[in-house]
């Protein structure tokens, strides 16, 4: 890989690898009231995610993937059911579970460095130097050390996603929730990021829930790929991907998995909505 993931000499406790969380999503339902009536976004969804597992959610637009991520993050409350992180119910957002949002969410009034520092500044018991060291470490990890003084609007789309990733990683969360983080990028940048994310995941040990439209992307990154169906949003099927890592998005074995998953999507009648790749 291009960048070595290594511990700095000044590494603080912050850079210790901490225990990733175990997630239990039990019978979660959520509906929204809209002008056109009531939408059942999630219908009794249950899902267990093991410590340090990488789970991908695949499904058509509007089937409730973002809603589920928001509920796991604690940003929204389910109508019924519950989410447990390490056995404790999730009732509010917290830095144990950080989100890389589907829409751009970097703060344009801060520099790249300021954005990565934001979450760190909210952590108690850290010296100023610690915070700066940690922020620098993560900027290096995503390969943007040279741009720490840059403004957000000066970055390309791929660089912005890297900063978002660094910002989400910096407070050392136990869970990383990623909502179609690479959807808007070109294929080349995406391929680089697939390598990076697998490497970072291995080095930092996080439980990751990753949402995507792209079957191949799901098969490349996930230990498991879960298929969602819309109206009402439900988990229909799941695939365990048993391939060695790091995985190459263009490998033949991966293509075989992708084909199987796409077939299953067709069977549940929503392949047309999923990126044909």
């Amino acid at each position: 890989m291009r960048r070595a993931v290594r511990r700095r000499s000044s590494a603080t406790e912050e850079l210790e690898v901490i225990a990733p969380s175990k997630l239990a999503i039990n019978n979660v339902s959520k509906s929204f009231q809209s002008a056109s009536g009531k939408v059942l976004a999630l219908d009794r969804v249950s899902l267990n995610v093991a410590e340090a597992e990488f789970v991908c959610l695949v499904g058509a637009s509007g089937c409730g993937k973002s809603t589920l991520l928001n509920i796991i993050a604690g940003l929204e409350k389910p109508d019924s059911g519950e989410v447990l992180a390490d056995g404790k119910p999730v009732t509010a957002p917290g830095r144990e579970r950080l989100v890389m949002f589907q829409e751009p969410a970097l703060f344009p009034w801060l520099t790249v460095f300021g954005n990565v520092l934001f979450g760190l500044n909210l952590k108690p018991n850290l010296s100023r130097k610690d915070r700066h060291d940690v922020a620098k470490y993560y900027l290096e990890l995503v390969g943007l050390s040279r741009f720490e003084r840059a403004n957000i609007h000066e970055l390309s789309g791929g660089m912005k996603q890297r900063v978002s990733l660094a910002r989400a990683l910096a407070p050392n969360p136990r869970v990383l929730l990623m909502d179609e983080p690479f959807a808007a990028l070109d294929a080349l940048t995406r391929e680089q990021l697939y390598g990076d994310i697998q490497e970072i995941w291995k080095a930092r040990r996080k439980t990751i829930v990753f949402v995507t439209h792209n079957v191949r992307e799901g098969a490349c990154l996930g230990d498991r790929v879960l298929l969602f169906s819309p109206h009402p949003g439900r988990i229909q099927e799941e695939f365990a991907v048993e391939l060695p890592r790091p995985r190459d998005i263009n490998s033949v074995d991966l293509a075989a998995y992708a084909t199987r998953i796409t077939k299953a999507l067709k069977r549940i009648g929503q392949a047309e909505a999923v990126a044909a790749e």
Binding site: L75, G94, F101, F118
Partner: protein, 204 residues
């Protein structure tokens, strides 16, 4: 260079026309003094310090009024953005008062404060305050919710949220409100000045 020459030429022609109009004696010299008279008046005023003094007084009055407007307007704007109670009361009032030309405040100011410094300050403050209140409120209410959500997940709450997320995110709006406020202050300040001079000219 060409543009500079053109501009210079244009103003020379204007001056010559002005001078010609003065020489033709169409209007009395009181209504239309010659350009040279005006120039020497300005020069004398600049030399004996009355011009600088008058400018200073106007600027000081403007700045003081503007800052009072800002200091009061910003928190009021935040309150109206945050609580419906304030929006329905102060917000509605601000909306009504902002459209009022500041010259409307002059008679009230004279009535309440008489011909004092306070009266002029009052007019300037009224010219600034309401546009700052409204800009702050609009700014805060237009902050994309995603910023709040992202900050929430990182553990930002209450005061931290206000000072580190909502205010900076709303700043572009607030600044444009401040500019508008400055324009209002400027105009109301000068209106004041003109009225002042007229009174003096009329021997009051």
């Amino acid at each position: 260079m060409k543009r500079l020459l053109l501009a210079a030429g244009f103003f020379v022609v204007l001056l010559l026309l002005w001078d010609a109009a003065f020489r033709a004696r169409i209007w009395s010299p009181v209504l239309l003094p010659s350009p040279w008279q005006v120039a020497s008046y300005l020069k004398n005023a600049a030399v004996d310090g009355t011009l600088a003094g008058a400018t200073l007084i106007t600027m000081r009055r403007l700045l003081a009024g503007y800052f009072i407007g800002l200091v009061v307007g910003l928190p009021l704007g935040l309150l109206t953005a945050r609580w419906k109670l304030f929006r329905d009361t102060i917000g509605t009032m601000a909306l009504g008062l902002q459209t009022l030309p500041s010259v409307c405040w002059v008679p009230l100011a004279l009535l309440w404060f008489g011909q004092t410094e306070a009266a002029m300050l009052f007019v300037v403050v009224m010219g600034t305050l309401w546009s700052v209140v409204i800009a702050t409120e609009t700014g805060v209410r237009n902050v994309p919710p995603i910023y709040r959500r992202a900050a929430l997940t990182m553990g930002s709450k209450r005061l931290h949220m206000w000072f580190k997320v909502i205010l900076p995110a709303a700043l572009p709006f607030i600044v444009s409100g401040m500019k508008q406020g400055w324009a209002f202050a400027w105009r109301s300040g000068h209106r004041d000045h003109v009225r002042d001079r007229c009174h003096r000219f009329a021997g009051r």
